[in-house]
Symmetry: C2
Subunit: 200 residues, 2 copies
């Protein structure tokens, strides 16, 4: 009979394999993009072959999905920490979005989650991960409405629009040749938009 100990060890091996593939994929997708990344190269870099990949993730898109889910979860965690530190819920929201924009400038996040992800996997809301990052900001806006800090608004709608605005701000900053100045302009404009929620 298979002991729990042995079974657990086997499962741990598989998780190790998956983790290594995901890590290699992050590296490849971030630097070369999804389309230009070869599965052979990618798996070889992880010390495996395409067999392991198709066994664990089904196909190339499945691997991208796994990578996206992982990064998205990391982003949501980072956002929650930032939002919690703020002195007021409203300031927490602004801080979260500032952090979001700054994260979205990171090449890995921008390339994988914001460009290739939607293009290959479709609208983020249809992702299995349900876009934890979006859920986090939606939750925060919902709380603001519930406690009367801002006038009623559909939380998901507001979160989606603000996320979209942040994402484009990040693309703009990343492509700019004066990132600092561009970021400042983007953040200023963003604040103006967000305050429309607080006032209107």
């Amino acid at each position: 009979m298979e002991t729990d100990w042995v079974a657990g060890r086997r499962a741990q091996m598989m998780e190790e394999t998956r983790a290594r593939l995901i890590q290699a994929a992050r590296q490849a997708f971030a630097t070369k993009g999804f389309a230009a990344s070869s599965m052979d190269d990618l798996t070889a870099a992880a010390g495996l072959t395409r067999g392991a990949l198709y066994h664990n993730f089904g196909d190339k898109k499945g691997l991208l999905q796994a990578v996206v889910d992982r990064i998205d979860a990391e982003m949501a965690a980072r956002l929650a920490v930032v939002g919690e530190r703020a002195e007021s819920p409203w300031q927490g929201l602004l801080d979260e979005y500032r952090a979001y924009i700054e994260m979205a400038v990171e090449p890995e996040i921008q390339r994988i989650v914001l460009l290739d992800g939607p293009a290959v996997l479709g609208d983020p809301s249809t992702w299995p991960s349900q876009n934890a990052c979006l859920a986090e900001t939606t939750r925060r806006i919902r709380a603001l409405v519930a406690e009367g800090a801002i006038p009623p608004v559909d939380p998901e709608a507001a979160a989606r629009l603000l996320n979209g605005a942040s994402l484009h701000a990040a693309l703009w900053v990343a492509a700019s040749d004066a990132p600092e100045a561009t970021l400042a302009k983007a953040l200023d404009a963003f604040r103006r938009l967000a305050e429309g929620l607080a006032i209107g």
Copy 2:
């Protein structure tokens, strides 16, 4: 010697060829996406071969660029008409963005310009077409600031953020199973954000 008449006729033939390829590409890219569209199928549908394609557009990305430029120009023209019809400049801006969101729901525009375009060609601001659509909204915001209708803000920053918000609103609406209701919620939230520009 080549007469002007003959030269003009030759140029017209090439434009005809380019137009047919672009049209076939629009159809293919819109329905199957850029990556899944075969150049052989695409050119055959236009009654040509890949030879014509590489001669006129360089490579597959070049064709996408041409398609994107064309659609972008059409969008900008449609937006300008909508904005001009409004009774006030501010209302013109709101009308333009309403039109933008509704356009962005159209599968062809969403798939080609908003998803595959940025993923394959990079940030829209780096496109040769200079994103006529974005330029149009930037121009309008600049005018609003100039005439004192809204407090000073960097026009490009504001336009980019609003475009991003609109785009994500459109993705949301398109993926929704109750598009009408979703569109209403999106438009309401968008109006709140935009008013942040007017007030803040």
